[in-house]
């Protein structure tokens, strides 16, 4: 990009401040902030308040309709890149077909799968939802949520491999690392799933009461009768499809800025640690920093895309050559594949240009601009957000690295409200066993992440979540029906912030939510 806005230096200066604040509220890791030049620290001129309107920098989009999450980076002008984005959109949006069909570029889905179109989980490129229940029946709509599985009692040798990030986890021996609840015709589905909810009351100090819902998952392996039931020590993890916006910008947050927020031993005593997840990169064939997914278990958008094709849709690609069948799932293994297309042979189902286009698309979905940055209530809510310590993990701002490959995303001042680090969120939100009891904290379930640790999810766009899809729900397992409910589930390292929110007056709660809804 030759065009460089004249006011960029101001942005840069602002973001240094914000990064410093985010690192630990100015005391602790904030001191390690990377200096952008060698000069002595000097007073930073106050940036105009509305610079924060552009959550995604110059890639920010200005759409507040149900399509708010579906536009390409606003500063993308190159026609070949627009075509690449649209090609990715085509394959993200349209369903894949069981192999082997006439539409040979789009076949091979399954045999086991969670869904057959990316868009059906990431609804309008937004988030999914947990199943709703009726008065008499459990919820069974698992169309935009899935469950993963990992063994807790593993050998010390396996544990050592996981601790070195050479191995993600030991999968369940009945269904593998993920419960695919759907299958193509004539293939047995591997699980039956449903969920009910119990209610949990939370009291604010002013006497107001909120009633939350807590999921009770009912999981059955269809292979139990043939001697392959879930393992006794399997830990389950429910994951709603996350929104797709701003992924390429997150990929370009300098690694040093992320690591600067780490405080594994809580040396600053604020109750918040924060650890990076390190994962095995299939692309780089090396241990790399994890950034994507609910547990930062993927290092790049490309690997995340290939992982979703493989695990969620049963589609192999150059990065994921194995189908998702277990050795004892004979019908799955014998199902037709969709390798190659009508003009080329390749030994997997998602052709390279399609995988690359989907990753490109996923990297370039623009983040919507904030609507009302300067509103007094929004500003008041932002102060409350900061005072309650939310910004210690939901770090407001970064400047992305320079990238010649991704000019739209290069050197942008962004406001994602995340540190991309793992935090202990308490037993209530932990992964669980077959009886819905929280898993032991020592179990590593996805590379270095324990059953209680979750990556801080970005908050940008959260205020438009229900505009994009009214059925959207919040938190990793979708249990929170509203943003406030999600706040009230925060435990573990976030317990003090939660307590602060419980002490807020009704007006302050409104202000806090007004701020969050403006993101």
């Amino acid at each position: 990009m030759a065009f460089r806005p004249l006011f960029l230096p101001i942005f840069l200066a602002t973001s240094v401040t914000l990064t410093a604040c985010g690192g630990g509220g100015g005391s602790g890791p904030g001191e390690e902030v990377v200096s952008l030049d060698d000069t002595q620290p000097q007073p930073v001129p106050a940036a105009p308040k509305d610079t924060q309107q552009l959550s995604g920098g110059n890639a920010t989009v200005f759409d507040t309709s149900a399509d708010a999450f579906s536009s390409r980076s606003a500063n993308m002008t190159d026609i070949d890149r627009i075509k690449q984005f649209n090609l990715g959109n085509d394959f993200f949006e349209n369903p894949w077909v069981a192999g082997s069909a006439s539409t040979s570029s789009r076949d091979g889905v399954g045999a086991l799968l969670n869904n057959n179109a990316c868009q059906d989980c990431h609804i309008r490129d937004g988030r999914g939802h947990a199943p709703n229940v009726s008065l008499t029946e459990n919820g069974t709509d698992f169309s935009s949520i899935l469950l993963k599985a990992a063994r807790a009692n593993i050998s010390s040798a396996d544990r050592a491999l996981i601790e070195q990030s050479l191995l993600g986890k030991i999968p369940d021996s009945s269904v593998g690392g993920q419960l695919q609840h759907d299958a193509i015709p004539d293939i047995m589905k591997e699980v039956e799933l449903s969920v009910g909810y119990t209610t949990v009351a939370v009291n604010f100090s002013d006497g107001t009461r909120a009633v939350l819902r807590k999921p009770l998952w009912q999981l059955t392996s269809n292979y139990a009768d043939s001697g392959f039931d879930f393992d006794d020590d399997t830990v389950f993890s429910a994951r709603v499809a996350p929104p797709m916006i701003g992924m390429g910008l997150l990929a370009l947050i300098p690694e040093a800025d992320i690591l600067a927020g780490e405080d594994p031993g809580d040396s600053n005593g604020d109750g918040i640690s924060g650890r990076a997840n390190y994962v095995w990169s299939l692309e780089d064939q090396a241990v790399t920093l994890g950034r994507f997914g609910w547990r930062a278990g993927q290092s790049s958008v490309l690997e995340q895309s290939a992982g979703a094709f493989a695990n969620d849709m049963g589609l192999t690609s150059r990065l994921q050559l194995m189908n998702n069948c277990m050795p004892h799932q004979a019908d799955c293994l014998a199902a037709p594949n969709g390798n190659g297309d009508s003009v080329s042979d390749y030994d997997y189902e998602v052709a390279d240009p399609i995988l690359d286009a989907v990753a490109f698309y996923s990297s370039h979905l623009g983040v919507p601009a904030r609507r009302d940055v300067n509103n007094a209530e929004v500003q008041a809510g932002k102060s409350l957000f900061t005072e309650a310590g939310c910004g210690s993990c939901h770090v407001a701002s970064y400047v992305t690295s320079a990238s010649t490959e991704q000019p739209e995303l290069s050197e942008q001042v962004i406001f994602p409200y995340t540190d991309l680090l793992l935090h202990d969120m308490g037993a209530e939100l932990a992964d669980f066993n077959i009886d819905n009891q929280p898993a032991d904290d020592s179990a590593l379930v996805e590379f270095l992440a324990t059953a209680r640790e979750w990556r801080t999810p970005p908050l940008w766009g959260i205020g438009l979540a229900k505009t994009v899809d009214p059925t959207a729900t919040f938190l990793h397992d979708g249990r929170a029906r509203t943003i406030l409910e999600a706040v009230l589930w925060h435990g573990g390292e976030a317990e003090q912030s939660r307590q602060d929110v419980l002490q807020m007056t009704a007006q302050e709660r409104d202000q806090l939510l007004t701020f969050l809804n403006d993101l």
Partner: protein
């Protein structure tokens, strides 16, 4: 209401015969040279004319679908090569008005919250069209139904469409009928479409695989359902519907976002659906089955008429209907914006016309799947790629118009996980 439609459909028959005739060579009027200019232009006038256009487009879609069903029945009763070709020709004719009507599809923003199904008709075009024109289609799913035991009837086809929450299990609509008439195209990027033999429908005891009778029943049932669906949609745009709450026409006329919807539809069709999914995906990937009419190799008809739909929406024209239009509003406000848009549309039109002509050449036609297979620099590929680029560039014209007329960008992304 049904009676009304029959009257309208009958009245429109001459038009549609004309259109069908034009299918082999495209329409002759370029849209701008002798453009109708009304004395006044108002939002209400533009919307009224748009309803007239929709009524005519769905009326023609219905009457050509009726003709397709009739030819399918003739073929089923007497499965000769000649009758198969007549049925295929009827399919081709039906694509012309339907693909022009498809511009109506992006209507969730003006329909979704309005519970328009209370009158018993479709709640939106977006929701309705999945049963009519869905793609991609997993043909093996249709074959498995035909080879199965269940009674083939409309209820079965509807229940199996999108079965197992898989939208690729397309059992209904245009492309299912296309598969029943042509079969899979095994010619790659070479010339030739699907080559289903008429003997697949043998009714003289010579059926090769014992499924001929069920195949015939499937084809007839799919055609019956297509007619029923188009009847329901035509009903939504009848003269009665204009004054009946719960219909799409009434909703559109009374929507504060009517003009936003027209412009948003043009953008969705031109810059996204047509430029990208229907043209560029195939051209980039080089996979000849990346065309929506992949069994019949009639994508050149489909995409040409999709573009006609964009022109129609702007100029307020369809067939011999013309009236107040978005183009008039733009021309009224700023001649340069209009001229730019008209020039852009004319330039794309000439390229789409060349693609249509290449596909319709009597000798050695070049169909769209062959263009997909052409090397960089080949004549037709260059034309198609230029058309894609110009369709994408139309985005800036559309933005200029949006600003000029103070229109709002509406959501065109469809109904979410249920579509």
């Amino acid at each position: 209401m049904l009676i009304n439609i029959k009257v309208i459909a009958a009245a429109l028959l001459p038009t549609c015969f004309l259109l069908a005739a034009c299918g082999s060579g495209g329409s002759s009027d370029s849209g701008t040279s002798s453009r109708y200019v009304p004395e006044t232009v108002s939002e209400a006038g533009v919307k009224d004319n748009y309803v007239n256009m929709a009524r005519a487009a769905y009326g023609d879609s219905l009457s050509t679908a009726l003709a397709l069903r009739e030819q399918a029945i003739v073929f089923i009763d007497n499965p000769t090569d000649a009758n198969l070709q007549l049925a295929q020709a009827a399919y081709k004719a039906a694509r012309i008005p339907y693909q022009q009507s498809e511009i109506m599809r992006w209507d969730t923003a003006i329909t979704l919250a309005n519970n328009l199904d209370f009158d018993g008709g479709p709640a939106s075009v977006d929701e309705w069209e999945g049963q009519v024109n869905a793609w991609p289609l997993d043909e093996s799913y249709i074959d498995s139904i035909i080879a199965g035991e269940e009674d083939i009837n409309i209820a079965l086809l509807v229940s199996q469409n999108g079965a197992d929450e898989n939208e690729a299990n397309v059992t209904t609509g245009v492309h299912a009928i296309e598969f029943m008439l042509w079969g899979a195209d095994t010619n790659g990027t070479g010339p030739g479409a699907g080559e289903r033999p008429a003997s697949d429908y043998a009714n003289d005891g010579s059926c090769a695989d014992a499924h001929c009778a069920r195949r015939a029943l499937y084809l007839k049932t799919a055609a019956d359902l297509l007619v029923a669906d188009l009847t329901a949609m035509a009903d939504e745009w009848s003269e009665d519907a204009e004054i009946t709450q719960g219909t799409l026409a009434y909703n559109f006329i009374n929507s504060a976002q009517g003009l936003d919807y027209i412009l948003g539809s043009m953008r969705a069709m031109a810059t996204d659906e047509l430029a990208s999914a229907r043209m560029s995906s195939g051209l980039v990937l080089g996979d000849p089955e990346e065309e929506h009419d992949c069994f019949s190799d009639l994508s050149h008809i489909a995409i040409y008429n999709n573009f006609r739909g964009v022109q129609n929406a702007f100029y307020g024209t369809y067939g011999d209907i013309e009236g107040e239009s978005l183009a008039d509003m733009v021309a009224d406000k700023d001649r340069a914006t209009f001229d730019n848009m008209a020039a852009a549309l004319n330039s794309i039109e000439s390229k789409m016309q060349q693609i249509l002509d290449a596909g319709e050449r009597p000798l050695n036609p070049i169909r769209f799947d062959q263009i997909i297979g052409q090397a960089q620099g080949a004549t037709e590929r260059e034309i198609a790629e230029a058309a894609v680029d110009e369709l994408l560039a139309l985005d800036s014209n559309l933005h200029a118009i949006q600003e000029l007329l103070s229109l709002v960008e509406i959501g065109t992304g469809g109904g979410g996980d249920s579509n």
